[in-house]
């Protein structure tokens, strides 16, 4: 890949200007305002009148007690929920996605149909899949309880989305269902780039299928799978719609995004909500920077 370096600096500025202005207007400026609001006591009803309160939304000592976001147990619960959700669901998606990709990589009659079917969960809007699953997981009339009772796995219906011990698992189940196709497709793309001779050589040498997978396939597709994992993890950290629709504002499943929006919109506390948003932004920005830094060699090679 080589590029033409003729043309003036002004020409390039003009070419980039539309995107730069747009990104500043919809991302840069709003982000700056959100961070600014987190140092104020602004309320949603009247965004024009507020006073600067410094770090009070984050942490303040008042009458010998700590207040603010960093002393809020509901917030820390949301942080824990988000991390738990991210780690567990991304891990499950990766294992399942790789398994499905290995299956689709084989040649068998009707492979095109199976590949198309795997895309279906991905094509369904998150809100729709959340509602479909909340119907399937319904405590009285749900098909999942019916199937589990039929198989003799449980003796009476479970309240999947209402029971605090189960609801996080229900959320993870739906997320895994929805996003495994993405993982499978990206892994499949990585698999298809591997040279066929490699596997023929392994076969000729009599290496077992399982050993070939662990010693040859996995190390070779690992970089591609890692990209998908990072992508999904950053996406899972900001999860909102699935949890909002499946379990509403229940504290058992509340994520950082759900917490921030509840403060901002439902309680109209723009200052406090912005502080939570800013913290979430910092967490994701930190993760993004780490991942980009770790992958910078590949990035520079490619571009």
């Amino acid at each position: 890949m080589s590029r033409i370096s003729t043309g003036s600096w002004w020409q390039i500025v003009w070419l980039l200007l539309p995107v730069l202005v747009t990104l500043f207007a919809v991302a840069g400026w709003p982000l700056f305002r959100t961070i600014w609001f987190s140092f104020t006591d602004a309320s949603l009803a009247n965004l024009d009148h507020y006073t600067f309160v410094g770090l009070e939304n984050y942490l303040v000592r008042y009458q010998n007690q700590w207040f603010g976001l960093l002393a809020d147990s509901v917030w820390w619960n949301a942080v824990y929920n988000t991390l738990f959700f991210t780690v567990v669901s991304v891990a499950m998606e990766t294992v399942l996605g790789v398994a499905i990709a290995l299956t689709l990589h084989k040649t068998f009659p009707g492979r095109g149909w199976v590949r198309a079917a795997v895309l279906i969960p991905w094509a369904i809007p998150t809100i729709v899949s959340a509602r479909m699953w909340s119907w399937m997981l319904h405590d009285q009339f749900g098909v999942i309880n019916d199937l589990l009772i039929l198989c003799g796995l449980i003796s009476e219906p479970l309240a999947w989305t209402a029971d605090p011990d189960l609801s996080m698992w229900a959320v993870i189940l739906v997320d895994v269902w929805k996003t495994t196709p993405f993982m499978a497709l990206l892994t499949l793309a990585a698999l298809q780039m591997l040279p066929k001779e490699l596997f023929e050589a392994a076969k000729v040498d009599g290496v077992s299928t399982i050993k070939t997978f662990w010693k040859v396939t996995l190390p070779l597709i690992a970089p591609g799978v890692m990209v998908a994992v990072v992508f999904r993890a950053l996406d899972a950290l900001r999860v909102f719609d699935l949890i909002y629709v499946l379990t509403a504002n229940s504290t058992a499943t509340m994520s950082m995004s759900v917490f921030a929006r509840q403060q901002l919109v439902a309680f109209q506390l723009v200052g406090y909500g912005s502080a939570a948003s800013t913290m979430l932004f910092m967490v994701i920005a930190l993760c993004t920077v780490i991942f980009l830094y770790a992958g910078r060699h590949r990035f520079y090679q490619r571009f």
Partner: protein
């Protein structure tokens, strides 16, 4: 001599056994593989299949689990459009998604040309920034955007959604189009530069015709993302008539929390999902290509 016969017979028996056990193993593997395939198929398809079945149920039928349609009732489908402005919600979604895709493609074509075909100081940093913005948590800009939208007088107006959706579509289209641009051979430009073409001509007369397949793929993926968006649509619109499809479906409610009209919700879900599934199946290969180009980063 005898020893030799014994040896041969032993060998033969052994050989025969080896073949039959290999055959059994092969058949077992095949059966296992087929079962695994069926499991994958059921896992992927059953939830939507069940939503379709439920959407044709009426009244008390819903309170009984069935695995196929016993009676076809279209009442839920009629109710979706009668009890709320669902038709308008669909039109809203189409307007917003189409305009967002059109605007972001238009904006990003020139930037993708500069980023993919030209060499300049800070190019890689800029690509990193674009990638970083695509990872933005939407909630992080919520209060800032809310202020901006109020200031522009766009609250509870489709314009607010068109503006705010650019935050996730523009980085995506810039990124994917840049990678597509890079793959085109250098000779294309050399010939055009010899002829003294200006960047504007280069982009719109030389590159755009070559980029059509990429534009379709990128546009389709951006369209799906805009169609499915929920957080901004929920926050920036208020009245029923300004809602997009995801918000409308999420807010369908009954007399109480425990009396949700599940038949109607499932009918609405089926109505908006079938076109998406058809689109995705038609453009299957292109979508996979676009997803890989978009995600194979750094």
């Amino acid at each position: 001599m005898l020893g030799g016969i014994v040896f041969i017979s032993v060998f033969k028996v052994d050989f025969g056994l080896a073949i039959s056990s290999l055959k059994i193993k092969k058949i077992l593997t095949k059966i296992g593989f087929t079962i695994w395939l069926v499991c994958i198929l059921i896992y992927c398809i059953f939830p939507f299949y069940y939503a379709i079945i439920s959407s044709f149920k009426e009244g008390a039928e819903l309170f009984q689990v069935d695995y196929w349609v016993k009676h076809w009732h279209w009442t839920n489908y009629l109710a979706v459009f009668e009890q709320q402005p669902f038709g308008i919600n669909i039109i809203n979604s189409i307007i917003v998604s189409t305009l967002v895709v059109f605007i972001s493609l238009l904006l990003s074509v020139t930037a993708a040309y500069a980023l993919g075909r030209r060499e300049f100081y800070g190019r890689k940093t800029l690509l990193m920034v674009v990638l970083g913005v695509s990872m933005f948590p939407q909630v992080a800009v919520l209060s800032g955007l809310f202020e901006l939208i109020q200031w522009l007088g766009l609250y509870n107006h489709l314009g607010s959604l068109i503006l705010s959706y650019l935050i996730f579509t523009v980085p995506f289209t810039v990124w994917v189009l840049t990678t597509f641009m890079q793959q085109l051979p250098l000779e294309i430009e050399e010939a055009a530069i010899m002829d003294g073409a200006r960047p504007r001509h280069m982009i719109f007369n030389v590159f755009l015709p070559l980029l059509w397949p990429a534009l379709v793929t990128t546009g389709l993926l951006a369209f799906i993302a805009a169609w499915n968006e929920f957080l901004f649509a929920l926050t920036f619109t208020l009245s029923e008539h300004q809602r997009t499809v995801p918000v409308a479906i999420a807010l369908i409610s009954g007399a109480s929390q425990h009396e949700l009209p599940w038949g109607i919700i499932m009918a609405a879900s089926v109505v908006v999902t079938v076109p998406l599934i058809v689109l995705v199946l038609i453009f299957q290969r292109k979508i996979v290509a676009g997803l890989t180009a978009g995600a194979v980063k750094g």
